[in-house]
Subunit: 364 residues, 2 copies
Amino acid sequence: MAFELLKKDPQSAARRGRITTRHGIVNTPVFMPVGTRATVKALSPAELEELNAEIILGNTYHLFLRPGMEIMALAGGLHKFSNWQRSILTDSGGFQVFSLSKLRKVTPDGVKFASHIDGSKFFLGPVESMAIQRTLDSDIVMAFDECTPYPATYLEAEKSLNLTLRWERMSREQTLNDGQLRFGIVQGSIYEDLRQRCARELVEIGFDGYAIGGVSVGESEPEMLHAVDSAAPFLPENAPRYLMGVGTPRQIIESVARGVDMFDCVMPTRLGRHGSAFVGFGETIPVKAGKYAKDFTPIDENCGCYACRNKFTKAYIRHLFNVGEILGVRLVTLHNVYYFLNLARQIREAIEGGTFTELRQKFQ
Amino acid sequence: MAFELLKKDPQSAARRGRITTRHGIVNTPVFMPVGTRATVKALSPAELEELNAEIILGNTYHLFLRPGMEIMALAGGLHKFSNWQRSILTDSGGFQVFSLSKLRKVTPDGVKFASHIDGSKFFLGPVESMAIQRTLDSDIVMAFDECTPYPATYLEAEKSLNLTLRWERMSREQTLNDGQLRFGIVQGSIYEDLRQRCARELVEIGFDGYAIGGVSVGESEPEMLHAVDSAAPFLPENAPRYLMGVGTPRQIIESVARGVDMFDCVMPTRLGRHGSAFVGFGETIPVKAGKYAKDFTPIDENCGCYACRNKFTKAYIRHLFNVGEILGVRLVTLHNVYYFLNLARQIREAIEGGTFTELRQKFQ
């Protein structure tokens, strides 16, 4: 079995678990840094290992366009190409086809679209997405779905859901490489009965894990958490649950409380590039701002990341951003990714130690 | 004594030596990576230590403008500001005042100029430069000089030299912090007798080390080596000699053969940022070029840097440059700085082992 449920929190739906992939153990709840284009922005694989990242993301859509599948096949997959030895989850490309590409035409078998880079035409559907993820040879493969736009009327959401279910069945029928795990994705927008129906049908189709998608697309936080509440109870206890593209530290901990095991988000790397650092219980501070020009303390005195542990000061980091030096981006990105991985570690330890509710309260 | 001469090559003027600063030992011949704005571009202090860099450069002109001396004083100097524990040499700012700034007006006591960043007005002369380098608290302080432009007539070069000698005397008279070493700079353009005269006068003034400046400013390689030949024999044997801003691997080894101990150059970091990697005996290859898109070998199979040792392929690095990812710049910069530090190590070992002439021939 790829997933072991180790402990359940008695006061919430939080779970402590363990996924075993071909590349090692992934302890859940887990935060997965995003490596869109075969690199977690600004970080090296060695740094990610030192940060104890057990799994990172790759993006089918981006890698399909550049470097393209011929190079990826010649490289022998994404692990070998990017020199990352631990687990990789790849998305299906569905989200990016709908959010980035142009001139989309949806057919029953997938989407015709024009690349956002140079306008060249491609077709991506469940058959193609599974073939790409076979070539990438990721450890966890996501089914191809339609990310329902927000807002959507009930009828729009239902129509989109029907297409998603067709595509997920087709995704399920494709052959994968030995040991690749395949996750289904629950859609259904903000509609409880659609989410529930989707969850039930996916369980019937049968996947190794289940994601909740179509969140973090502009809806409110209560709507997002409601989507989780609508789906999670209908997903099998003995399979991992992944909330796609979420989120803030608070959203992560609230979703863990609702039974979610896996998270990914560009926030730590994106805010890192823009000079914002996570501190405390999910707050951010704009390290690159002039007000830190004479602040000779680290981002967070209590943080154990390379930047804080070695007393790189806010004044220094602010200077690096002010003059456009790469080391500034590197230090804040390292700090932020550490923050999210450390948050997941704290969550795991709290579930193990029976103190999850206390930890959760700190983030309110 | 800050400098120990350990061994002289019997077949050339090459020397193996050791400088002791307040921050440790610097084994010569040495290559000093350039950290213009309080960071060696794209690298972290931890990486530089792992690369065995024993000394790096900082730039007075750039640090004077940003973050400025108030912040540098509050930080307690450049070491503390940038978190670098080993030795630092700072230039005097003279070179940048002449190459970067605008609206220069030269007076007997220094230069009035407008910042290249925002046009604000400043004055920098020997008194100011020494004060700044006291605040930076670098281990090796460079005298303030005029970098004679190239080409210069004999009369222009002589006039510039006279000003330089005045400024170097003034630089010598300023008080430094305990343990700071002070280097004079030989100017004189391409004119042998001016170089010789400058060297003799500087030795009379008395410095802890001697630099050869006004090179790498557009002159030919033979002219540059001739400038070294004109000055080196008149510099004391028991003081380190530093060829400023040089150069290619071949230029470095040729200058070592002429008795130079110290080098700095932006080439490894600048070419690294632009995707060119040093290989073999000083050649470069454009790793970011399309022709490497399917080359699944490292930059250099025999190289011991992080990128090559861990088999990051040219295809991967090319992809990173192609999509604009920071890791590409990091990997090629690391490789190039390793190349130059490793070149200096090979030179030191060759002098020790009596094989310097053989090594030198490989770079012809």
